[in-house]
Symmetry: C2
Subunit: 336 residues, 2 copies
């Protein structure tokens, strides 16, 4: 069977470009007993994938040059040589490498796939009930430990994780303040997602003053998705005993030199601040708890959700790059 | 009664100098019922005091210009108009402001003093069983959570806190690596205080390489007393799930501009690092636990202790400034 794949052509220096990717045609081997042939329906593209393009020590092994890029996704079974699966079922990668290769079809061992629930829209598995939802839940609840009346600031607030963080903060009785880029996203945060205030970093010359105005009682929890100048500004407003779940640093992922900025340790000492870097894999043993709680909130109408869906397998590289210019509201998904 | 006092003459910009201090003679008012007249015997001088010279929000209110500097200390009762105390007893300040003014004598309300135990050398209350010992204990045990076999690095290792951190790390079955300045201190750490390795930052051009060599399995806990370049080097060697009790930033206390350095958040995210700023006051409800444990270790010969004692009331400013040039080994004390 002939398929298309998108490979990592070369490791990018700084921002990835079209030369980072290469589309090739190849042929899948014959399906063997115990294997399942799947056709991807939806791919997730996520900021952390930039890190996998570097050849450096991190929590997931790097992509290999000449091999397909891979990401989260949902697929349909085309043919199965295993009793557990049959054609037409909707599945997700669920093995030790829970990723789909960027390919128009792929073969998996049956025990590296898991079925989805027909009552849940399949893309929810990539967002609200997937990595972004769980990241928001555990980062805010387990590290941030929000208490009613506190102020929670989230950067990258209109992203897949950010919109959920703000809504959980509201459920917990906190003031939710989002930082995002552009008037449209700001309106989305306050009008649709119930944030108490939102700061447009693209429209504000002085983020520091904007944070001060939006957080009259200071900042108790800063859920940091972006890093860089925006975080510098928020950190200046941290209260005593503030908590900083450190989720991502998208502003820095394409840096070619070691990023430099104001040292944060003096503020952290004088105000007894906690900062905890985390990746969602740390919480794998507690995923069921997170999914259950998020699903309950969704059913109760307490969490709303949005996606940006881009159509076409060939659009995968552009969709990934779009994350770094803020092209998405909510979860960025590519429909094949 | 005529006394001498040392006042804060002016808030320093950068490193304090002789003009920061002013010695004056003044007269104490008459002792009233319920009050106690004390004569300081020993003053503690500590790096955190630099922060109190600034007019900025921190965990202790700033010193006031024209008012006496104050610090931890041990004093002798000269005269008491309260039944709880009598002349000759050794006491410490124990009220809401647990400090002695830099004065040759002072009056306290009786309920702002507490007695010391005759079986313990009085200066131990300023060090091993005082703020530095408790800081080492709670920072390492409660934040660092050392596990046997892990590597603990402490900066400012020959200081009052550092020598205790290293010894507790050894008690917990860890590899203890200290960073300090000068061959004499390095020898002290490895020969007297049982550190597995010690790095002389004054003698090493490449701290990064020295940390790598001293920590072949990486760094699991970095107890940070100093900040700046030394911390930058250690942070590069942090392991996944490393913990950083953030105790002090002495390298930065005299900065006149916002200190700038490599951003630490990217490493913290990719390696799931915890950093917790703290001050010992956070642990006030658990002081008894800490004192009990430290005293047991001392009695069992598991913790050794050293002090640098400078003699003379007039030497107080010079002793304080000496902390910033590393004049002390262990706790710096001024004997009046």
């Amino acid at each position: 069977m002939k398929i298309k794949q998108i490979l990592l052509a070369a490791r990018p220096q700084g921002m990835p470009a079209s030369t980072t990717f290469k589309t090739v045609e190849t042929t899948l081997p014959q399906l063997m007993p115990g294997e399942v042939l799947v056709k991807p329906l939806y791919f997730s593209v996520d900021p952390y994938m930039r890190g996998r393009m570097n050849d450096s020590k991190s929590y997931i092994p790097p992509f290999q040059v000449g091999e397909p890029i891979e990401s989260g996704g949902v697929a349909e079974v085309v043919e199965s040589k295993d009793d557990q699966f049959s054609a037409g079922e909707i599945v997700m990668p669920g093995g030790p490498r829970p990723f789909l290769p960027w390919a128009t079809a792929a073969i998996f061992p049956a025990n590296h796939l898991r079925k989805t629930d027909n009552n849940i829209p399949p893309t929810y598995y990539l967002g609200l009930l997937g990595v972004p939802g769980l990241t928001a839940y555990f980062g805010l609840v387990d590290i941030g430990k929000p208490k009613a009346g506190e102020t929670v600031v989230v950067s990258g607030a209109a992203g897949a994780v950010g919109i959920i963080v703000g809504q959980i903060a509201k459920i917990m009785g906190c003031r939710a303040v989002g930082i995002a880029g552009g008037a449209e996203k700001i309106k989305l945060l306050t009008d649709t997602f119930n944030f108490d205030a939102a700061i447009d970093y693209k429209g504000n010359q002085d983020i520091d003053a904007a944070v001060g105005a939006a957080c009259p009682n200071g900042v108790d929890i800063y859920f940091d998705n972006v890093g860089g100048d925006i975080s510098d500004a928020v950190i200046r407003h941290l209260n005593f005993f503030a908590r900083v779940p450190l989720c991502g640093q998208i502003a820095l992922y394409n840096s070619t030199e070691v990023p430099v900025g104001p040292r944060i340790q003096p503020v952290m000492v004088t105000r007894s601040v906690l900062m905890q870097g985390f990746t969602i894999g740390n919480y794998a043993p507690r995923f069921a708890e997170g999914v259950k709680q998020l699903a309950e909130w969704v059913k109760a109408g307490k969490i709303k959700y949005t996606e940006t869906v881009i159509e076409g397998f060939d659009e995968l590289p552009a969709a990934l790059l779009g994350l770094f210019s803020g092209r998405n509201s909510g979860k960025m998904i590519v429909k094949v």
